[in-house]
């Protein structure tokens, strides 16, 4: 054993190993950074003001609400149906519109499918702006612009979805094998033709995947958007919440849960056929 160890040691000593390229200190820097951020956020001068004490102080209040939530008011169901349908409609319409808009934009933001640096950076910059604004903020602004109802909700969801789909799909394009695109170029196709004939078949699974994921997000998001007046279940949630009807609220939460689970089953089934 020791003899072999010695051999290994000797071999390594004689091997001409090139010096490892810099930055062994990088992980330590990361740890240090996390430590500094932790200290700052916890410090009384700069940190946010919160204390777990509030939970202990108000526990009775919380327990009461949880008890109410545990007993859904089933008789409330008929009143939730129209809002539920509106939420589903908003989610489906927004997903469809977003999918149609996202596909060409995804191709335009990936280097492989859009070699033109200027147009690519321009589209990317616009999409970064779109993605940086949260959906609830879109809804709040749009309600002020086009009025209360499903329309501002749908537009908010579309903007929110385009940001997600384009980001994910264009990343999957970059990860694809560029060979088929090279073949299209060698056959004399222009970029649009190459994208349609050679790139699209390869990105279709990832595109459908993201679209299904976004549909699921939309059902949940459209429930919240109603809080600012953008239609769907959220309007109802806002109403029952104002009257402290936690039993009715729990029924709505249950409905959302069931729909999200159903969508999950559906998208899993579709995905299995895809790959």
């Amino acid at each position: 054993m020791s003899a072999r160890g010695a051999t290994v040691a000797r071999t390594i000593a004689t091997l001409d190993i090139p010096p490892r390229p810099g930055c062994q200190w990088k992980p330590w820097c990361a740890v240090g950074l996390v430590a500094i951020i932790t200290v700052i956020t916890l410090s009384p001068q700069w940190g946010i003001d919160f204390s777990l004490e509030a939970i202990a102080r108000n526990w009775q209040n919380g327990a009461e609400k949880i008890l109410q939530l545990l007993v859904p008011d089933w008789s409330f169901f008929p009143r939730t149906v129209p809002a539920l349908l509106e939420t589903l409609q908003m989610a489906v319409i927004a997903t469809a519109v977003a999918a149609v808009v996202s596909l060409p934009l995804s191709l335009a933001t990936a280097r492989l499918t859009n070699p033109n640096g200027y147009s690519r950076r321009l589209v990317r910059a616009v999409l970064n702006v779109i993605r940086s604004i949260p959906d609830l903020l879109y809804a709040a602004i749009l309600v002020a612009m086009v009025g209360v109802g499903a329309l501002p909700g749908i537009i908010a969801l579309v903007l929110f979805n385009v940001g997600i789909i384009v980001k994910m799909v264009s990343e999957s394009i970059e990860a694809n094998d560029p060979g088929a695109l090279e073949a299209g170029r060698a056959a004399g196709g222009n970029q649009v033709q190459i994208n349609r004939a050679s790139a699209l078949p390869d990105i279709m699974p990832s595109f459908i995947n993201q679209t299904l994921y976004v549909l699921e997000l939309n059902v949940r998001a459209s429930a919240v958007l109603g809080l600012v007046g953008a239609g769907g279940l959220g309007l109802l949630i806002d109403a029952v919440r104002t009257f402290y009807r936690y039993d009715q609220l729990s029924l709505i939460i249950l409905e959302i849960l069931i729909i999200v689970m159903a969508l999950d089953l559906l998208s899993n089934a579709v995905r299995r056929r895809l790959v």
């Binding site: 073949a183 299209g184 056959a187 004399g188 196709g189 033709q193 349609r196 050679s198 390869d202």
Partner: protein
């Protein structure tokens, strides 16, 4: 091709003052070690690699000045076959072969699914028939074996109705028997259809048995150019810069 030099943005000089004349109907094997400039040479011919200086005339086109639509028309007349087959794997064999019709199809037609002209489909079926895999026309490209995929790629090139076919290491990813079948296909294209074929190869026996002319590249320069009969082992030793080894032949 006159005094063609290719220098990449990285500063690497891939071709140094290369001058060649290739006549219609020739079957040329380009040999050399990896990094000798074979791929660059073949890719300058259809403009996938831009030339830095010199002049290159292919058919009636001047490569050094061709841009945009002119370059696409030129590429439309040149078929290309790759080492990695370069198929769109998730779509049908037919759709892959029809990529060869892109230069003859309007963008609008391409955008609409399956709107290729009936005559284009006819050409695609004939091309697949010529390489013997018409029965796979509706299969997904990814479900085929390597040899079958390379034949689809040859059919794609034939579908362009090209005057010239470029093949970049077409059999390097295939097992020896399949390699011979694919090389036979290429020879048949050359002999039956009169299409000029330029093939990059690194295996000596393949270059000898399938080419009529051999061009040897070493470090971006042409070190041999002559009929296959005059390419002796000594010539190959000069091209490779070392004596010929058993690893330089495919065998079989």
């Amino acid at each position: 091709m006159r005094d063609v030099t290719v220098r990449y943005a990285s500063g690497v000089v891939a071709l140094k003052n290369v001058s060649l004349d290739i006549r219609p109907g020739e079957m040329v094997s380009v040999v050399g070690l990896s990094g000798s400039g074979k791929s660059s040479l073949i890719r300058t011919i259809n403009g996938l690699v831009p030339i830095t200086s010199g002049s290159l005339r292919v058919g009636g086109y001047h490569l050094e000045s061709a841009r945009g639509g002119e370059l696409r028309r030129l590429r439309g007349e040149i078929g290309m076959i790759f080492q990695g087959f370069n198929l769109a794997k998730r779509t049908s064999v037919l759709n892959n072969v029809l990529v060869g019709r892109l230069a003859h199809t309007t963008t609008l037609r391409t955008l609409l699914l399956g709107a290729y002209r009936a005559s284009d489909r006819e050409i695609a079926f004939e091309a697949l028939n010529r390489v013997g895999i018409l029965s796979k026309v509706w299969d997904r490209a990814s479900s085929l074996s390597g040899g079958q995929q390379q034949r689809v790629a040859i059919a794609r090139a034939l579908c362009q109705e090209p005057r010239l076919v470029l093949a970049d290491e077409p059999v390097a990813s295939l097992d020896p028997p399949t390699a011979h079948e694919v090389m036979d296909d290429l020879r048949r294209i050359n002999q039956d259809l009169g299409i000029t074929v330029i093939t990059n190869l690194h295996l000596i026996d393949l270059a000898r048995s399938y080419g009529t002319r051999i061009i040897g590249l070493r470090a971006g320069e042409v070190v041999f150019d002559g009929p296959v009969e005059s390419a002796s082992d000594a010539v190959f030793a000069k091209i490779y810069g070392r004596s010929v080894e058993s690893a330089d032949v495919l065998g079989l």
